[in-house]
């Protein structure tokens, strides 16, 4: 009798895991962002590794935002350093908010149970362009979209243990301190001068075997492409939503289609559905009824230091005349559903003019802005979001084209 080449577990429940309180659940929108950004790196062959590293960065950013009100990630000068063949990828970014100055932090994704060591190129430890003051390991459970800040290591401790002056350095995971609370304390209260960065640049500054991407180009691409998307080709055709699908532009821009309201859905979607349901109920109560056949989708985006979420709901209007019409409801809030940032304006235009503009009334603090417009099927609407300093972000036009 032939037997299985490998023994099969007899303790049948040993491989179940549970969601821990400290785990960050990433929203589908943020996961899509990471997919989008990693796609641009696929030519070098490490798309998957970069995707995990970007998920780790997104999780770290969200963890920091949840846990420390005065700390934030600045990735304007950040880098994604990606191995062409073997070794770990790393994102270097700044954590700002400490009164004495920012910390440079390297974020790495680990999967967490098979590895004993990670491998970093020497330059990421010793070259001023690439080195960080702290290295933080982030456990990524890609399948669930869950991310947990796992452990950290300061650069001075790391340097004490490595002997090399070139090549790839293996670093034992045991060296990392498994206490994220301690890491938060250092970021918030330690003087950054305590962990000096290398200052002397060796003559050779290129990283052989690695590709270096500025994060600003990877992560900004969505916004830039939104701005560049003009003309008929790049409409978001929301009529597809009623058929339970996103069009190509919607997919490219990482819109997340929501199920019809009244669902039983897996957990990551539940919060967005519940949130939208709550808003819709409230709007219906205040005189903006939304019919049950309406379909919604949302997009999360980071722009000008803000995290925003735009919900859009569409539905065809009951046929009152020969010409069919549609309605578009826009709701602008934050991915966490928390306080709405001050000074942000939501503007809806048709090709000719600004139709309406919404901003938060100072006497009426709320957690979102909303706007509703209707038009004939051929009509399109453009959404622009503006911040206090005058910068604006324009999304590709929303259309409703039945085929």
């Amino acid at each position: 009798m032939k037997t299985s080449p490998y023994p099969i577990s007899t303790s049948i429940l040993a491989d179940f895991g549970t969601l821990q309180p400290e785990t960050v659940a990433l929203s589908p929108g943020i996961i899509q962002r990471s997919v989008q950004a990693s796609r641009q790196t696929e030519a070098q062959g490490n798309g998957w590794g970069n995707y995990l590293t970007l998920l780790a960065l997104a999780g770290f950013r969200q963890w920091l935002a949840e846990r420390a009100c005065d700390l934030s990630v600045n990735d304007r000068c950040g880098l994604l350093i990606s191995p062409n063949r073997v070794g770990e990828g790393i994102c270097t970014i700044e954590v700002q908010g400490n009164p004495l100055g920012p910390f440079k932090v390297g974020v790495l994704a680990i999967e967490g149970w098979l590895e004993d060591t990670i491998e970093l190129p020497w330059e990421v430890i010793e070259q001023p362009d690439y080195a960080a003051q702290f290295y933080v390991l982030v456990l990524v459970q890609e399948e669930q979209g869950w991310v947990t800040v796992h452990s950290f290591l300061s650069a001075d401790r790391l340097r004490q243990t490595i002997q090399l002056s070139s090549g790839i350095c293996p670093i034992s995971l045991e060296q990392f301190e498994p206490d994220p609370e301690q890491f938060l304390l250092y970021l918030q209260c330690l003087n950054p001068a305590t962990v000096p960065l290398p200052v002397v640049r060796r003559s050779q500054t290129t990283l052989s075997g690695y590709t270096v991407y500025p994060l600003s180009t990877l992560c900004a691409t969505i916004e830039e492409s939104s701005l560049l998307h003009q003309g008929r080709q790049s409409l978001i055709n929301t009529a597809h939503w009623l058929r339970d699908e996103l069009d190509q532009v919607g997919r490219d821009l990482a819109w997340v289609l929501l199920p019809t309201l009244t669902p039983a859905m897996p957990s990551p979607m539940l919060s967005s559905v519940e949130e939208l349901e709550a808003i819709v109920t409230e709007l219906s109560r205040t005189g903006t009824p939304i019919p049950p056949q309406a379909r919604g989708a949302y997009q999360d985006f980071q722009w000008a230091d803000l995290w925003l979420r735009l919900y859009a709901m569409v539905w065809p209007l009951p046929i009152a005349s020969e010409i069919p019409e549609w309605s578009l409801l826009l709701i602008l809030g934050t991915p966490s559903g928390g306080a709405f940032p001050k000074g942000v304006r939501l503007q809806v235009s048709d090709p000719a003019q600004v139709l309406l503009e919404r901003t938060l009334r100072p006497d009426h603090p709320d957690t979102y802005l909303y706007a509703r417009v209707s038009g004939i099927w051929e009509e399109t609407f453009v959404v622009t979001i503006a911040v206090e300093n005058g910068a604006t972000l324009t999304l590709p036009p929303f259309a409703f084209q039945m085929e």
């Binding site: 007899t10 049948i12 969601l19 400290e22 990693s38 009100c69 399948e143």
Partner: protein
């Protein structure tokens, strides 16, 4: 070995809830006819019995009625095994995650011996896919139940997950696999290379498609026949897609087993309602003051005078941030749960139904008490900056900052001990009186002042 009655007792959902066990005489007579020598045995050897029943159920030479009866006996066995798996799942995770065995059964216990429709039940699917030479029916059933998509969807909502074979393979780096095969499994070089090629081909196809098809963050589905062909095409040897699937599943099994073995030593972040962690905190030695700590002690004496003020400031600031981060509905649940716990003295398990949550784990995730306390603790230190400015060393030396933090932590730990003990109590114990620690009192004061309690 199993009692033979497992082969003629059929378990199904009871319309009124739960399940029912039903003896099927036709299965019993058939079974006893097939295995006359086993009649007197209290337990029968499953391997031999199942192999024979499978052969009977598949052989074209056997009359149709007997083929059906052989399959029925196996489906009886499968139905009971499904029940066992669900019972164990509920026993291990149910109370903390808010589900019972009866919640799980409808997803997987949907077989019916009376129906002959096109509907393929989970039990039938398990039987059809079972290969006696690869596994035994108990293990196979457990495996298929655990991997059931609907059941996993439900469990995930309750905060319990099972990583799929495909996610395990996605997660595995060739470097790690190579070391595992070479150092732990002592495989030969050609065998190692063959497995590494298989993993590399799988990665090239499956990971790429997962990103391309917007499947990221969703449960991984088995590779499609097309994907299996593409993986096979990349391998040097000639191999059928079906054989590729088997090899991938075997590899995932190996890695899964390794993962379970490693679990014991894997770093586990303790949560507040973890009894073990609570015990560790209770056992913390009271720090003895050495010379190096005298400075810290002196500091702490001064510091304690300012303690209440700093605590209140920190609570206001951290609470505001936590509230702002949440939707109004969840912020209300959060503050109300804190109120119930600290000001009314209710345990986590008792709080869940009062804030429309199903399970204690959801309250743990909502409150994140350990993190809340750590944030307040850290915030206090940053508030103390002017106060300790003359002790700038604390801020320029990681080691001393760490000591200071631990010192404050010890003080805070004493102050929040009530909370810690309370949180660790599982079940619905109601204390019925407010918590007395300074932390709890300050928090209640804040909640009252902001009309949240």
């Amino acid at each position: 070995m199993s009692p033979p009655s497992r082969y003629w007792t059929f378990i199904s959902i009871h319309p009124a809830g739960g399940y029912r066990a039903e003896i099927r005489p036709e299965c019993q007579f058939f079974f006893q006819d097939c295995f006359p020598d086993d009649r007197t045995l209290e337990e029968v050897p499953d391997g031999r019995v199942q192999k024979e029943l499978i052969e009977l159920s598949q052989s074209p030479k056997v009359p149709a009625r007997e083929r059906h009866l052989a399959a029925f006996c196996l489906r009886c066995f499968i139905s009971d095994q499904i029940l066992q798996v669900c019972t164990q799942l509920a026993a291990q995770f149910g109370s903390h995650h808010g589900f019972t065995c009866a919640d799980l059964l409808p997803y997987v216990l949907n077989d019916d011996l009376r129906l002959r429709s096109h509907f393929v039940s989970v039990g039938q699917e398990i039987l059809h896919s079972f290969e006696p030479h690869r596994s035994n029916l108990s293990t196979w059933t457990a495996r298929k139940v655990k991997q059931n998509r609907e059941l996993n969807g439900f469990l995930l909502e309750q905060g319990v997950y099972l990583i799929s074979d495909w996610a395990i393979l996605n997660d595995t780096r060739s470097r790690s696999l190579e070391r595992l095969l070479r150092e732990v499994h002592l495989q030969s070089e050609p065998s190692i290379q063959q497995t590494l090629q298989l993993l590399a081909s799988y990665h090239a196809i499956y990971r790429h498609d997962r990103l391309r098809d917007n499947q990221a963050g969703k449960t991984c589905q088995p590779p499609t026949p097309e994907q299996l062909c593409q993986i096979a095409d990349r391998l040097p040897e000639s191999i059928t897609p079906q054989a590729v699937l088997k090899r991938l599943q075997d590899l995932a099994d190996l890695l899964r087993q390794h993962r379970i073995d490693r679990r014991g030593g894997a770093p586990k972040l303790a949560s507040l309602d973890d009894q073990e962690a609570q015990q560790q905190i209770a056992n913390l030695p009271t720090p003895e003051l050495g010379e190096a700590e005298q400075e810290q002690a002196a500091f702490l004496t001064d510091f304690q005078k300012q303690f209440t003020k700093c605590l209140e400031q920190a609570i206001v600031q951290v609470m505001q941030h936590w509230i702002d981060r949440q939707s109004p509905q969840s912020a209300h649940q959060f503050t109300f749960a804190l109120c119930l716990m600290h000001c009314k003295g209710l345990a986590m398990g008792a709080i869940a139904p009062l804030i429309q949550l199903k399970a204690q784990y959801q309250v743990s995730r909502l409150l994140k008490l350990k993190q809340l306390r750590a944030d307040i603790q850290r915030c206090m230190i940053s508030h103390l900056q002017p106060f300790v400015l003359h002790q700038a060393a604390f801020y320029t030396d990681a080691e001393r900052l760490h000591q200071l933090h631990q010192g404050i932590g010890t003080v805070l730990e004493e102050l929040v001990e009530d909370v810690m003990q309370e949180a660790a109590l599982e079940g619905n114990l109601v204390r019925g009186h407010p918590l007395k620690s300074r932390f709890a009192r300050s928090l209640c004061q804040y909640l009252h002042q902001t009309d949240r309690c």
